[in-house]
């Protein structure tokens, strides 16, 4: 397994935002399998994921890894005015992928009937489902999911757990940041605890 290809690593990564230190000298190597990041609110979970995605400038240290990352943040990151299908088509085309799987993926995530409505008319849960369908449509080797269970009902949560398990079995690297969902522990290869910007790999 080519770890560097399907993963990302941070070396001595320090992130300062709004003149506050959010991450302190983080050393982390993310490879295939599920990595769980747990920590209280404001501990730096989101910034850690964004640093792995290469979305925040590092004040010190460096990031290694390919740019081939799927980062799904707190919010669905879908453009209003476009339908769920159009949004997903844009992402797939941008990566040079095949758009044929989009209908199926959206239907499997329960957005089948609403996939041609502009996303601003969907409920928060539906938007979240449409965003998570990207895990299947874009087929990216490194997935960074920030609180992906937010807004999901029981069926949606079940589907997300299955999706994470399948991605893990396919040899993809999955990083999930969440403050809850202990049932994911058994799927995880690594569990990280983060508090006040310090990552503890021994959790």
């Amino acid at each position: 397994m080519r770890t560097v290809q399907s993963g990302a690593s941070l070396h001595d990564a320090t992130v300062v935002l709004d003149d506050r230190v959010i991450l302190r000298a983080v050393n982390l190597d993310v490879g295939p399998g599920l990595t769980l990041v747990r920590g209280p609110n404001g501990s730096g979970k989101t910034t850690l994921l964004r640093a792995l995605a290469g979305l925040v400038p590092l004040a010190r240290g460096d990031r290694k890894g390919s740019g081939d990352v799927l980062y799904i943040g707190h919010r669905p990151m879908l453009l209003r005015g476009l339908t769920a299908r159009e949004n997903l088509e844009f992402f797939v085309r941008f990566r040079g992928g095949d758009t044929r799987g989009i209908d199926g993926a959206l239907r499997a995530w329960g957005v089948g009937e609403d996939m041609d409505r502009p996303v601003e008319r969907l409920s928060a849960g539906e938007r979240r489902r449409a965003a998570l369908a990207r895990v299947e449509t874009e087929g990216v080797p490194l997935l960074l999911l920030d609180e992906p269970f937010a807004d999901l009902d029981d069926a949606g949560s079940r589907r997300l757990r299955q999706t994470i398990a399948r991605a893990r079995d396919d040899g993809r690297s999955v990083v999930v940041a969440t403050h809850a969902h202990p049932e994911l522990d058994e799927l995880a290869k690594t569990r990280l605890a983060i508090d006040d910007g310090v990552v503890d790999t021994a959790a």
């Binding site: 995605a53 979305l55 925040v56 400038p57 390919s66 740019g67 081939d68 990352v69 799927l70 980062y71 943040g73 707190h74 919010r75 669905p76 990151m77 879908l78 453009l79 209003r80 005015g81 476009l82 159009e86 844009f90 992402f91 085309r93 941008f94 990566r95 040079g96 502009p118 996303v119 601003e120 938007r127």
Partner: protein, 222 residues
């Protein structure tokens, strides 16, 4: 995937969203229509018909319309963090600027056509060189968006950005506004050489600032 293809994708995404939620176009068209109306009321129809006055006001209005439409476009990107979804894609940073400039120039062309027709009808302007006028307007519409997109990106998420963007953009836009105004005035009054030389300058400005934007904007996006 090549960069031009990605730029076209970003522009297409933007135009599709704008077609379904035409906030930017509606705001910009209304703005320019109100200004043309106000102009003839405030300075009186005989002064408003002066080719210099009419052209200057048209391009100042269009510069503000560009700022309005660009800010609206980025406000939409910030809802639900759509911009982040685009920037997180490999090559997303590089395609953002080009895509926005392309789509905004398209939107602006529509605004310029509506504003131009309104000006011609309301002010009863005589156009000596219609073809030259079209060339000047087309190139002016290409020359305005690069600077405005850069400045809106720089002011992204800052408080008071509605005030900051015009302060940053308008001084930098002086050459574009001067050239567009003089070129339009020349085309209206029948000075073919003047119109074409200012049009040539507008083309140069459009190229120079687009190249600067393509080079530098990826660094400005966090």
């Amino acid at each position: 995937m090549s960069v031009p293809y990605r730029i076209a994708l970003v522009a297409g995404r933007e135009l599709r969203a704008e077609r379904r939620q035409p906030d930017g176009v509606v705001a910009a068209v209304t703005f320019i229509a109100v200004l043309v109306l106000l102009e003839s009321l405030v300075v009186g129809p005989s002064i408003a018909r002066d080719t210099d006055v009419a052209s200057a006001l048209f391009w100042l209005a269009l510069a503000f319309a560009t700022i309005l439409a660009t800010m609206r476009s980025f406000d939409r990107e910030l809802e639900d963090d759509a911009l982040e979804g685009l920037v997180a894609l490999p090559g997303g940073r590089d395609a953002l600027f080009g895509g926005k400039v392309l789509s905004l120039a398209t939107v602006l062309l529509l605004v310029a056509v509506v504003g131009g027709i309104l000006s011609i009808v309301l002010l009863d302007l005589r156009i000596a060189l219609p073809l030259h006028l079209l060339v000047v307007v087309l190139l002016g519409v290409l020359a305005l968006p690069p600077i405005v997109v850069v400045d809106v990106v720089l002011a992204l998420r800052l408080r008071a950005r509605a005030a900051l963007v015009p302060i940053l953009a308008l001084p930098v836009l002086v050459p574009q506004l001067v050239a567009a105004t003089r070129g339009t005035s020349a085309a209206l009054s029948g000075d073919a050489v003047g119109a074409l030389s200012w049009a040539g300058l507008l083309f140069a400005f459009a190229v120079v600032y687009t190249v600067i934007g393509l080079t530098i904007v990826p660094a400005a996006i966090e």
